[in-house]
C-alpha cells in the first residue's frame, strides 16, 4: 500500500474497464437533480446507479441498487484505510451483467467522507481488475456553500476530493458572490474542473467520461496556482502544486512519495501527478488517496509538449518548502 506504488493495468486495458463516477455533495446541493438529469438525458448510454436513499430517484431505471454505505477498516496497518466493503460486493455483482450498462454512478450520502469510496478502487483486486474510478464529482450549492464550508469538515473534504465540481444554484447569488465562492473553492482544490450550473443543467460531457486517470487535463491549469501563496497560511485544506523540468528518477520518486504518504497520509487527502521519468517516452500518471497510491504509464508525450513533471497535493498541514525540496530531490542525476 503505502510503500509501493502499484502498477495499474496499461492504457489499453484501461479502456475496457467500466468507468465509475462518484457523485458527492452536501445535503440539498442538488445531487439527486443532477442524477435525474444524467439518467433522463438522451445520450444513448445506460448507467447502473448505486444510491443510498432508495425511492428518492424519480426515474425509472432498472439498474438502481440500494446501498448502505458499509465502511470498514482495512487490517493492514494504515491508520486511515477505510473502505466501502458494500461497494466491492455491489460492483462485483453488477459486473456479472456487464453487457447491460456502459458505466456506473455511485451516489454518496450528503455527510459522507469520499475517502472510503475512493480507497475502494485502490485496495480491491477485483474492483481494480474490472472498473476504474472515472471521476469524483462534487455538487456544491452556491447559495449555502460558504456557510457549509465554515461549519462542516465533511464539505471541505468533498471539495478537496473532487475531480469535477458542479457549482449549482448559481441563479441564487450574484456575480460578486460567485467570484468569492469560486476563489474559496480554488483555495481548497486548485485542480478540479469547475462548472457553473442551475438546477443541475450541466452538459453531461462535463460530468461523465472525465477520464480521471488522464490527469494531464486536470493539471493543465495547475501552474497558475503554483506561486499563489496567498492561502498558505490556512491550516485548513489547501492545494500545493509543484513542477520539475528535469526528468525524474523513478526509483527516487517512488521512495520519496512512499515515505511522504506513510508519514503524512492522514493529512494528504489526494495527490496527483504527471511525471517525466528519465529514459521513458511515456507519461507516468500517479495518484493517491491518503496512504494509498497507484500509477501507470498513460501513453507518449504529445509532439512539442514540454516534458515537465507536475505534482499536486491537496490536504491539511502541508509543508510547502519541504515538499518542494523533496520533489526536486527526485531529479535524475
Amino acid at each position: 500500500m503505502s510503500d509501493t506504488v502499484q502498477a495499474s493495468p496499461d492504457a489499453a486495458a484501461q479502456n475496457t474497464l467500466v468507468p465509475v463516477t462518484v457523485l458527492t455533495g452536501f445535503l440539498g446541493a442538488g445531487k439527486t437533480t443532477l442524477l435525474n438529469h444524467i439518467l433522463t438525458a438522451q445520450h444513448g448510454r445506460k448507467y447502473a446507479v448505486v444510491v443510498n436513499e432508495f425511492g428518492e430517484l424519480g426515474v425509472d431505471n432498472d439498474l438502481v441498487v440500494d446501498a448502505d454505505e458499509e465502511v470498514f477498516e482495512m487490517n493492514n496497518g494504515c491508520i486511515c484505510c477505510t473502505v466501502r466493503g458494500d461497494l466491492i460486493r455491489i460492483l462485483g455483482n453488477l459486473m456479472k451483467r456487464r453487457a447491460k450498462f456502459d458505466g456506473i454512478i455511485v451516489e454518496t450520502t450528503g455527510l459522507a467522507d469520499p475517502a472510503p469510496v475512493a480507497q475502494t478502487f485502490f485496495v480491491d483486486e477485483d474492483v481494480r481488475g474490472k472498473t476504474r474510478l472515472d471521476a469524483v464529482v462534487t455538487v456544491v450549492d452556491a447559495y449555502n456553500v460558504i456557510q457549509t464550508l465554515d461549519e462542516s469538515p465533511e464539505a471541505v473534504n468533498q471539495i478537496a476530493f473532487a475531480d469535477v465540481i458542479i457549482l449549482n444554484k448559481t441563479d441564487l447569488v450574484d456575480e460578486v458572490a460567485l467570484a468569492t465562492i469560486e476563489s474559496r473553492i480554488r483555495s481548497i482544490n486548485a485542480v478540479a474542473r469547475l462548472h457553473r450550473a442551475q438546477r443541475g443543467d450541466v452538459p453531461l460531457s462535463d460530468v461523465l467520461d472525465q477520464g480521471g486517470f488522464d490527469l494531464q487535463r486536470a493539471l493543465e491549469h495547475a501552474p497558475r496556482f503554483l506561486e499563489d501563496t496567498s492561502h498558505s497560511h490556512e491550516a485548513d485544506v489547501t492545494s500545493l502544486s509543484y513542477e520539475v523540468e528535469e526528468p525524474l528518477d523513478a526509483a527516487k520518486f517512488q521512495a520519496w512519495i512512499g515515505a511522504v504518504l506513510q508519514e503524512q497520509g492522514a493529512d494528504i487527502l489526494r495527490a496527483k501527478g504527471i511525471l517525466n521519468y528519465a529514459g521513458e517516452d511515456q507519461r507516468f500518471a500517479f495518484q493517491a488517496v491518503h496512504m494509498m497510491a497507484d500509477g501507470g504509464f498513460i501513453g507518449p508525450w504529445k509532439e512539442g509538449e514540454p516534458r515537465v513533471s507536475r505534482l499536486v497535493f491537496i490536504g491539511r498541514n502541508l509543508n510547502r518548502p519541504q515538499l518542494r525540496r523533496g520533489f526536486e530531490s527526485c531529479r535524475a542525476k
Binding site: 432508495f54 432498472d62 441498487v65 440500494d66 448502505d68 458499509e70 470498514f72 477498516e73 482495512m74 487490517n75 493492514n76 473502505v83 466493503g85 458494500d86 466491492i88 460486493r89 455483482n93 456479472k96 451483467r97 456487464r98 453487457a99 485496495v123 480491491d124 483486486e125 477485483d126
Partner: protein, 354 residues
C-alpha cells in the same frame, strides 16, 4: 457427446471424453446439482438457468434453458426437497424451479437475494437465504417463515452445520452463529475485526472459517472460540470447501490448490499443503468430492483439474480456452462434476462407471 459442441471443447482431459459443454448467454454465476443427483442447474448473469437431466448429461443441446429472474442470478442451491432448485437474484426475488421446469415465487423483498443454502436429512429440511443484513429461515415447503435473523452488516455468506442444528453467517467484524430450532434467538458472536467475505464450517462442527478481504482466512475453534489465522495468499479466497472427512480445508486464492490440515493440531502452526495447480494461473473455485478423497479446482484461464488429496495425482478435466471458472460443484452421489465460466461455458462431466 453432441456433435455440435465437439469442436469447441479443448481436446485434452476428461471433459472431452466424458462431458458436454453448452455456451450460454452471460456469465455463469453458479451451478448446483439436485439432492437426488438427477439434475444439474447452471445460473447466469442474464437471469437464466440451464437444467441438464441425468439422461442428457452428454447431450448439451437437450438441456432446458429458461429465464427465471429479471436481472442477474446471484445465488443457486438445491431445494430442501430431493428435486428442484432455489434461485435468488438482483431482482430481490427468491424463486423455486421444480424438476419439471415450473417456476414459483417464494419471496420478494427490498434487497438482493445474495445467498441461499438448504439442509435436509431426507425427512425434514430447512431453507435459508440472505437479503441485506437479514437471514431468513423457512420450512422446507418454502413458504413458512421460521425466523428472521438480523446482523450488524450485510451478510456475505451463510452455512448450516452438517446436522442442520446451527446456521452461521459471515459479515463485517466476524460471524454470527444461531440455533435453528431455538425458541428464543440468542446469537453466538464470533468476533474478528475486518470484512469477512465468505464462510465454511467443518463437517464435524469443529471449526468455523471465514475468508477475509485482506486475502487471508480466519477461523474459530468452536469448542472454545480459539482463533485461527491462515494467511499467505496472493489474492482473495473466493471459494473454500472442507473435504468429506474434515481433514482438509481446500481453498482457491493461489496458483495452486491450497489445503489446510485440520488434524494433528492443525491448522495452527502448520503450513498448508498444495495439491497441484497451474503456474501463474489463479485458482478461482474449489469443490470436494462427497465420496472419495478427490478435490476439483477451477482456474482463471478456464482450466479445471481434479486432484487426489492423498497421492499427488492430477487429472486434467479441461485445460484453458476460456474465461475464469466461476462455478464448480460435485453432485451429492459424486457421479457428476459441473462447472461454468465467466464467459458463459456450462460444462457437465459424467464421472459414473460405465
Amino acid at each position: 457427446m453432441s456433435d455440435t459442441v465437439n469442436d469447441t471443447i479443448p481436446a485434452t482431459g476428461l471433459l472431452e471424453r466424458r462431458g458436454a459443454m453448452r455456451q450460454l448467454e452471460g456469465q455463469i454465476t453458479g451451478c448446483t446439482i439436485s439432492r437426488d443427483s438427477q439434475q444439474v442447474a447452471f445460473a447466469t448473469g442474464e437471469g437464466d438457468i440451464a437444467v441438464a437431466d441425468r439422461a442428457d448429461w452428454g447431450q448439451s443441446d437437450a438441456w432446458n434453458v429458461m429465464t427465471v429472474h429479471d436481472g442477474a442470478i446471484l445465488a443457486i442451491a438445491p431445494d430442501a426437497a430431493p428435486t428442484g432448485f432455489l434461485t435468488g437474484g438482483d431482482d430481490n426475488a427468491l424463486r423455486r424451479v421444480a424438476a419439471d421446469g415450473s417456476v414459483s415465487d417464494l419471496a420478494k423483498g427490498r434487497r438482493w437475494v445474495e445467498h441461499i443454502t438448504t439442509w435436509s436429512n431426507g425427512k425434514g429440511g430447512v431453507i435459508a437465504f440472505s437479503s441485506g443484513k437479514q437471514v431468513e429461515l423457512r420450512d422446507a415447503d418454502g413458504h413458512t417463515t421460521l425466523k428472521v435473523l438480523d446482523h450488524p452488516s450485510t451478510v456475505s455468506g451463510i452455512v448450516f452445520d452438517a446436522k442442520g442444528k446451527r446456521i452461521a453467517a459471515s459479515h463485517y467484524n466476524g460471524a454470527s452463529m444461531w440455533f435453528v430450532q431455538a425458541k428464543v434467538d440468542t446469537v453466538r458472536p464470533l468476533e474478528w475485526k475486518g470484512s469477512h467475505i465468505g464462510i465454511a464450517i467443518h463437517p464435524a462442527g469443529e471449526a468455523l472459517v471465514t475468508s477475509m478481504q485482506e486475502s487471508e482466512l480466519h477461523g474459530w475453534r468452536l469448542s472454545d472460540g480459539h482463533n485461527m489465522r491462515m494467511s499467505g495468499y496472493p489474492s482473495k479466497v473466493q471459494s473454500m470447501a472442507f473435504t468429506r472427512n474434515g481433514k482438509w480445508l481446500v481453498t482457491s486464492g493461489a496458483d495452486t490448490i491450497v489445503m489446510w490440515p485440520f488434524f494433528g493440531g492443525g491448522p495452527m502452526g502448520k503450513p498448508p499443503a498444495e495439491a497441484g495447480g497451474l503456474p501463474g494461473v489463479m485458482c478461482t473455485r474449489v469443490a470436494c468430492h462427497p465420496v472419495h478423497d478427490i478435490v476439483a479446482a477451477g482456474f482463471a484461464d478456464g482450466s479445471v483439474l481434479m486432484a487426489d488429496t492423498g497421492a499427488q495425482r492430477i487429472l486434467p478435466v479441461c485445460i484453458g480456452g476460456s474465461g475464469a471458472v466461476t462455478a464448480l460443484e460435485f453432485s451429492p452421489d459424486g457421479c457428476c462434476l459441473a462447472f461454468g465460466s465467466e464467459d458463459g461455458r456450462a460444462c457437465v462431466v459424467d464421472l459414473s462407471a460405465k
